[in-house]
């Protein structure tokens, strides 16, 4: 369970150390793509906790959601519509949902003996 967190931290450190910058033209797309991957990771974490984690679903979700979010933003730019706002809202709601599930799972994990009560929190 600590391994992914460690991975996240290592990734953060690497990204901060390496002075790579997103080209200005793509900043908007990469931001939404990152939000999509955050959503996927959180969803994956939730699946890990509930024991329904499937690597293929996770990986394909990661790639497809990321690309789709970026593509949607590009489409929005093409049409002059802020479609990316829709993606932001959708991903945010999903992230909150998943975080909620994870919270309950964690509560159940800490108080192993009282999982039923934690479910109602």
């Amino acid at each position: 369970m600590w391994l992914p967190i460690l991975g996240l931290l290592v990734g953060l450190a690497l990204g901060l150390l390496v002075s790579v910058q997103v080209p200005l033209t793509y900043v908007k797309y990469s931001a939404i793509a990152i939000l999509a991957s955050v959503d996927t990771i959180v969803g994956g974490a939730r699946a890990q906790f509930s024991g329904t984690f499937d690597l293929r679903v996770f990986l394909s979700g990661f790639v497809v959601n990321t690309l789709f979010a970026a593509g949607l933003t590009a489409l929005g730019d093409l049409l002059g519509l802020d479609i990316y706002l829709g993606a932001v809202v959708a991903f945010s709601i999903r992230i909150f949902n998943n975080i909620g599930f994870i919270r309950r799972d964690l509560l159940g994990f800490v108080w192993r003996d009282r999982p039923a009560k934690a479910e109602q929190a």
């Binding site: 369970m1 391994l3 992914p4 967190i5 460690l6 991975g7 996240l8 931290l9 290592v10 990734g11 953060l12 450190a13 690497l14 990204g15 901060l16 390496v18 002075s19 790579v20 910058q21 997103v22 200005l24 900043v27 908007k28 990469s30 931001a31 793509a33 990152i34 991957s37 955050v38 996927t40 990771i41 994956g44 974490a45 890990q48 024991g51 984690f53 499937d54 690597l55 996770f58 990986l59 990661f62």
Partner: protein
């Protein structure tokens, strides 16, 4: 699921998830850095980059226009400068011809090699009943000396420091000579600028005016000088009757 031994399948899942988490961390950090750069450089969030780009383009166009304007102004300036140079050149040539005209009119003090011819009344005592004119220098004598010097190629002549110019007349006023508007008294010192040898040779020629004056015992001296000075004509030029032909009939 923590700490409990699991099949290899679970490890693969965990590894994949970890790699993805790492990738996410990496991209997050890169994005954050980029965002921070944008905000620190442009003072806007990346969401408003389009607006910045629009402003930038406008500013760029404005700069381009101004650059072109500067170029035009530079060209114009160069042109004006050229004109000014032309004007200065014209002015310089005008000044040059004016200086030459002043020199021709005798309004410029001159210096150069030449001769000084001095003639004075004779100191010979008059015989009884003799005409005193015989021992006096007349205006015609001075005039003859001057004319001889002109003929010998003198470029500028002054008599007793009175410059001779085109309209100078030499005439007689009682016992003195009137030259221009000044009365001159003997001795008469004629300063002429020109080739000293030629001037001296011609003015002293046998049968010439000085030869004649010497015959009548007038004290005559001719000296050459390497750097003689002739003053400028101090009088005026007034034309009441004469006017140039052509312009204005």
């Amino acid at each position: 699921m923590n700490g409990v031994p699991r099949p290899a399948r679970v490890d693969a899942r965990r590894a994949g998830f970890t790699v993805m988490a790492m990738a996410l961390g990496f991209f997050l950090a890169v994005q954050a850095q980029t965002e921070r750069t944008i905000e620190s450089r442009l003072q806007v969030t990346s969401g408003r980059l389009g607006e910045v780009a629009y402003r930038y383009r406008q500013e760029d166009q404005r700069q381009e226009r101004e650059r072109r304007e500067i170029e035009d102004l530079r060209l114009e300036m160069a042109e004006r400068e050229q004109q000014a140079v032309g004007g200065r050149r014209a002015l310089a040539s005008l000044e040059e011809s004016l200086a030459r005209a002043r020199m021709l009119a005798g309004l410029t003090p001159l210096r150069g090699p030449g001769v000084i011819v001095t003639v004075a009344d004779s100191s010979r005592p008059l015989q009884r009943g003799e005409d005193p004119n015989l021992v006096l220098i007349h205006y015609s004598d001075v005039h003859a000396v001057v004319q001889t010097l002109w003929a010998a190629g003198a470029e500028a002549i002054a008599v007793n420091d009175e410059r001779l110019v085109d309209r100078t007349g030499i005439s007689c006023v009682g016992t003195t000579i009137l030259c221009n508007t000044r009365r001159l008294a003997p001795p008469y010192r004629v300063t002429a600028i020109g080739n000293p040898d030629i001037l001296q040779g011609i003015v002293l020629a046998r049968g010439g005016i000085l030869d004649e004056l010497r015959t009548f015992d007038f004290p005559v001296t001719v000296t050459t000088g390497a750097d003689l000075r002739v003053p400028a004509y101090a009088g005026g030029f007034e034309y009441h009757y004469a006017r140039p032909v052509g312009k204005g009939g």
